[in-house]
């Protein structure tokens, strides 16, 4: 599988504050990758670097093997982008906006355009200024996919939408893109969005890649063990468990995220702690996310 997007040791700071620290990962052709992390983790910065809006401070970024800042037009012609802000430029009405985008790209799929308009019940004569937030995102999606992009970058595409609009938007995105085999990198802090789009997840925490796994593997092979402090007073012991990703202090317990096969994880816990009976369960993605990047509740209360 050839690489469509590749980050190699990318770092970036804003006014001396690091936003990305030595980030490296790649997205292969046809892959769907969810970029997750807390607010300010560096998700938008990474996407903006991929589309050439921001330049990396150090490291290298390649999109289709090209530099997005060195060959901006060639790269952007093959990218579709939907932003969190939902800005739309190019016309006063949807018709004008479509005409503007159609003029900028060599290819324009009228069938997809019609399909999106029908699916969302959008009128081409509708004024952009009178569209709701959800409708603006839908129009944004239309502009981002009708030129049949090879790479689609979605920066928190459904944030701020009500659950129904959110689901409609994501279902349309999945329907349109799975069919085409488009490579997708999307950012979100909503685990339901990530689960809906599927694929692989890259978890960013404090500007660094904390986890890069297939979603199915996260669901199947991530366990959270709840260890009473009375049985293990020192977190260091738990951190030494093979496959341990994080130990978090929650009141009088340790929450330990361990990766591995079911039997194997139990065995490792037993041999590290010295006894059985430690509850170790699979958690929903959202819980795993909180365990991996959440703060220490004890400290927060203090």
């Amino acid at each position: 599988m050839s690489s469509v997007l590749e980050y190699v040791g990318v770092s970036r700071s804003f006014k001396g504050v690091p936003a990305l620290r030595d980030v490296s990962f790649s997205v292969g052709e046809g892959e769907v990758v969810g970029l997750i992390g807390r607010n300010g983790a560096g998700k938008t910065t990474l996407i903006n670097i991929a589309i050439g809006l921001l330049y990396p401070g150090s490291g290298d970024v390649r999109v289709f093997g090209l530099s997005p800042t060195g060959n901006p037009v060639a790269v952007k012609a093959r990218i579709g982008y939907v932003s969190e802000e939902g800005h739309l430029r190019g016309g006063r009405t949807i018709r004008e906006l479509i005409a503007f985008h159609r003029g900028l790209f060599d290819v324009w799929d009228d069938k997809v355009e019609r399909e999106i308009l029908d699916r969302f019940g959008l009128s081409v004569n509708a004024r952009i200024s009178r569209l709701s937030k959800g409708q603006r995102r839908q129009v944004g999606l239309l502009c981002a996919v009708c030129h049949r992009p090879d790479l689609l970058l979605l920066d928190e595409p459904a944030s701020g939408l009500d659950p129904a609009a959110r689901r409609e938007f994501l279902e349309a995105a999945i329907l349109l893109l799975n069919r085409e085999g488009t490579t997708i990198l999307f950012s979100s802090h909503q685990m339901t969005d990530v689960e809906r789009l599927g694929g692989r997840i890259v978890l960013l925490d404090d500007g660094k890649v904390k986890l890069d796994r297939e979603l199915d593997r996260v669901r199947e092979e991530m366990f959270v063990a709840i260890v009473p402090r009375s049985s293990v007073p020192d977190a260091g012991t738990l951190e030494k468990i093979p496959g341990c990703l994080r130990v978090r202090s929650v009141r009088d317990e340790w929450h330990v995220v361990v990766e591995g096969a079911d039997e194997d994880v139990h065995q490792r816990l037993k041999s590290s702690i010295g006894h059985n009976g430690i509850p170790c369960v699979r958690m929903p993605l959202e819980e795993i996310f909180i365990e991996l990047v959440g703060g220490t509740r004890n400290k927060e209360i203090a």
């Binding site: 809006l53 060639a74 800005h87 430029r89 985008h101 900028l104």
Partner: protein, 255 residues
């Protein structure tokens, strides 16, 4: 070329929909004062008609310049704020050239309308020779073009207010210096030398008298258009230079 054309059309539409025309409307109203003072409320012809109508034309031109300057200063800034245009396959050069053409077409059309209204008054009040007014119109075109050529690429770096101030200073400071030197108020050799250099290389340094006296009965020679053309060339060079400087630079997107 197609992308430049798309940008030009968008720029024309944007230009017509903004509030940047407020200075023009204000100047259009003010332009009636010299007319009313000169011709009286009954609008009777008199021997000062050439001067009065020239003033009217100059007022309109000034209004259009200011509007053009605001249009130029806000056009790239607006894109930086929305940032979406920079995610589309259009280079910064194409974007700037498209905006320059679009804005100049709108401003040029405004100047032409102002000129035609002035011309209609000139005919109505019995003036008959208009060759000098053609040079006046060309001067107004050239100056407005200079303002736009500077303000559009400066928008890649600066906010509208700083773009307006910088553009105004770059064009008007040498012009004011020239006025001071020619009046003999400044005689320092170093400054006089600098002034001579600026008159050759700075944009916007052309004879503005044809615009102020556009409807005077004066002869015009082909050579009189040299300054207009030279100024337009300098403006294009400055524009290209600024755009090339902005081409490979990270933009501040949320100002």
């Amino acid at each position: 070329m197609k992308r430049i054309w798309m940008m030009t059309v968008l720029s024309i539409k944007d230009s017509l929909r903004t509030k940047a025309w407020i200075p023009f409307f204000i100047m259009s109203v003010l332009a009636w004062f010299p007319m009313l003072i000169g011709f009286g409320y009954q609008m009777r012809p008199n021997s000062f008609a050439d001067n009065i109508i020239s003033n009217y034309f100059q007022f309109l031109s000034l209004g259009i310049w200011f509007s053009g300057l605001i249009l130029g200063a806000t056009s790239v800034f607006m894109e930086r704020r929305a940032s979406l245009m920079f995610t589309l396959p259009i280079s910064r050069t194409e974007l700037a050239v498209g905006k320059l053409l679009g804005t100049q077409i709108v401003v040029g059309a405004g100047l032409l309308v102002g000129y035609l209204i002035s011309l209609a008054f000139a005919v109505h009040f019995g003036l008959s020779r208009f060759t000098y007014s053609h040079l006046g119109l060309a001067t107004a075109f050239s100056l407005s073009f200079t303002y736009i050529c500077l303000s559009i690429p400066l928008g890649f770096w600066l906010s509208p207010i700083w773009t307006i101030l910088t553009t105004y200073l770059v064009i008007e400071a040498p012009w004011t210096l020239q006025a001071l030197v020619s009046e003999g108020w400044i005689t320092n050799n170093w400054i006089v030398g600098l002034n001579a250099l600026l008159q050759k290389v700075a944009p916007g340094q052309l004879d503005r008298v044809p615009m102020a006296k556009a409807f005077y009965n004066k002869y015009v020679f082909v050579g009189d258009y040299t300054g207009v053309a030279r100024n337009a060339m300098i403006a294009i060079i400055v524009f290209m230079l600024l755009v090339s400087l902005a081409r490979n630079k990270e933009l501040s997107l949320k100002s």
